[in-house]
Symmetry: C2
Subunit: 381 residues, 2 copies
């Protein structure tokens, strides 16, 4: 998958060995990143962005790489995260296949890809890797750490495991713990991949590739990243033209089916299935409260209190959380929970609910709402 | 699958040939049903229940079959649908494998199961079959037709295609048209079954059975039949005991995963995959508005107006629609739309929103709320 690593990528070596939270260690691991703007002399204008599961580090265009990035309207000169003021870093997650070390990387012990021999990956490992990136770039304290979706989990973990590493936090569509409905969705995505006869216990090849499992997983992802409300307006019950439909029994017939198919086709060969499994499971395992206490086993109230204690243990000056009212995967209640918990810990923290129809993906689509909100927050720092 | 047809089942033969809306005809087809209570001399106390996709006709216990039915608390002497007063009929859907003729039935032309040689099945065919059942039982006009979920679509189709067939209508978690998010879910369920290597274009056997495809489809069904809210309280982040987990990498770990697995295991060999595909697709195709006008291709407002015209063309005295606020598959807006449209057609129609946390399945679980509501409606008829 090296063809999907942008030419503007740079790397920071992690300490070798790099110990993993659930056991095992990585040798010669590294994190892929890009930067925008300049670190000032006091090194106090740095902003770190932790992305979701699938993006690479190319968040925005730059001189080194003029291609649009995945958060292009948000980051750049004069944009909401203004690179004339901030030194902005985006790191590809540990465990990914888009530059950072992960299950698709070569295992130095064998010279072959790790695959299932990659140690169990947790959100906390990703956070520790980010802490190393920050220090390696000569930064003592970030002005702000931003986390989107899975990156919101990583950012919270970074804040609690490395106290003082950031003055402020922006959490976009993130969560302080995985909830059972989302666990169920991710579990089913992983099952689709594992059950593909070509998956072969992780030992697939380009020729025998778990394409249908990945397609199913991605379609289920896209269904839960968006919302019924948006799709009613966007697709309705519109059928495909007769030349777009296939003749197979039970083949594509509605526009919404062809939209899913197109999304899936773009994804299946662009993301490594083992990396997908590892990153997906790391989210299920995550509960910020585990940092402070043994794993909770009580009722709903006990579970909330457990996570809340983790949030309240974070020391930070300012925080903003943003969630879409139509997000079913990381529902708005989770961004409210983060803001409430950080406030309990002493931060000036707010949650901003967005009426965006686009669901979990709204922060990548509804720039009309998200750009002004994020600009206001950064201007106030 | 004949072992899943209750011994109390009776049958009514459909006219032979029975023409299907999208082409083709059935020979020697029949509908499985059960009844409770007695038809009075005026034949004006009959209530017909059209169930969802998967249930058989055994809705409640009876002398002929004392086993609990799938709507046991709702139907019986002194219950909300009181069989001391009403003659209650429940029919297994056309296209099912639970007694009525469907793709798993024997094709009289070949003596072999129809499988993909079953003609295309639409909701309207199921409605026409029910109209025949009603007439065959000597009933001119039903006191009420009840439809749950898919049955809600069938009931609306019955009302518009057979004017005067019922005086009142109760629609529970139903819809007057399929929306794109639900189409996407069902399309993915069908894809999971079709992609199973054992599916073999519909020509599977008991020995080579599309078990993993059916398991995936059922898990996705259960995820969308319930709600995130309910599962937060019910499962939280509770893990399985170590003896319940499997050793396979990425195997079950959380209680919610094992709940899904148990549900899936109970379903996969109890429902015929081809029947599942046919019934599932019939829902996607359904738009009540198609009865009055050519298929709509306009924007959201045009699409709503199209369906609304269908609802307003129904002539009926009384109607109640009930929906759960947490239903993501047949969202509450759809039950509101039905009530609004029927009112436009002259009915005294109301929509009752339920704060049940159980999502689409609430009518099968939250009897504390649904029993009194349905009792009040039937008492008022």
């Amino acid at each position: 998958m090296t063809e999907f690593i942008p030419p503007s990528t740079r790397w920071i070596d992690l300490p070798s060995p790099f110990p993993m939270k659930r056991g095992g260690r990585l040798h010669g691991a590294r994190i892929a990143y890009e930067t925008w703007g300049e670190l000032n002399a006091a090194a106090d204008n740095a902003v770190l962005v932790a992305p979701g599961l699938s993006p690479n580090a190319h968040m925005a265009s730059s001189e080194a790489n003029p291609a649009d990035g995945w958060w292009e309207p948000m980051v750049g000169p004069g944009k909401p995260i203004d690179t004339d003021r901030w030194f902005v870093i985006c790191a590809n997650p540990l465990g990914s296949c888009k530059g950072s070390t992960g299950p698709a990387s070569s295992n130095p012990d064998t010279g072959l890809p790790y695959r299932f021999r990659f140690p169990e990956l947790s959100i906390e490992d990703g956070a520790d890797a980010l802490a190393h990136v920050v220090r390696a770039l000569g930064i003592e304290r970030l002005a702000c750490v931003v986390g989107n979706s899975m990156g919101g989990m990583v950012a919270l973990s970074l804040l609690i495991r490395h106290p003082g590493i950031a003055a402020a936090h922006l959490n976009v569509a993130g969560a302080a713990r995985a909830l059972p409905w989302s666990i169920a969705i991710r579990s089913l995505q992983r099952e689709a991949i594992r059950l593909d006869p070509n998956f072969n216990g992780g030992d697939y090849s380009d020729a025998a590739y778990p394409e249908s499992g990945m397609r199913m997983a991605r379609k289920l992802g896209v269904i839960t990243y968006r919302s019924a409300l948006e799709w009613d307006g966007r697709f309705g019950r519109v059928r495909l033209d007769s030349e777009q439909t296939d003749d197979e029994p039970f083949g594509l017939e509605f526009q919404v089916e062809s939209y899913l198919e197109a999304h899936a086709r773009r994804f299946v060969r662009h993301f490594d299935p083992n990396c997908y499994l590892y990153l997906s499971r790391s989210m299920d395992w995550f509960d910020l409260g585990d940092h402070c206490a043994e794993r909770e086993v009580g009722d709903r109230a006990a579970s909330q209190a457990h996570t809340r204690a983790g949030l309240a243990a974070i020391r930070i000056d300012r925080a903003l959380t943003i969630g879409a009212q139509t997000d079913v995967l990381f529902p708005l209640q989770q961004q409210m929970e983060i803001a409430d918990g950080l406030r309990e810990g002493g931060a000036a923290a707010e949650c901003l609910p967005m009426p965006s129809p686009q669901g979990h993906d709204a922060f990548l689509v509804d720039y009309e709402r998200y750009c002004p909100a994020i600009r206001t927050f950064f201007d106030s720092l």
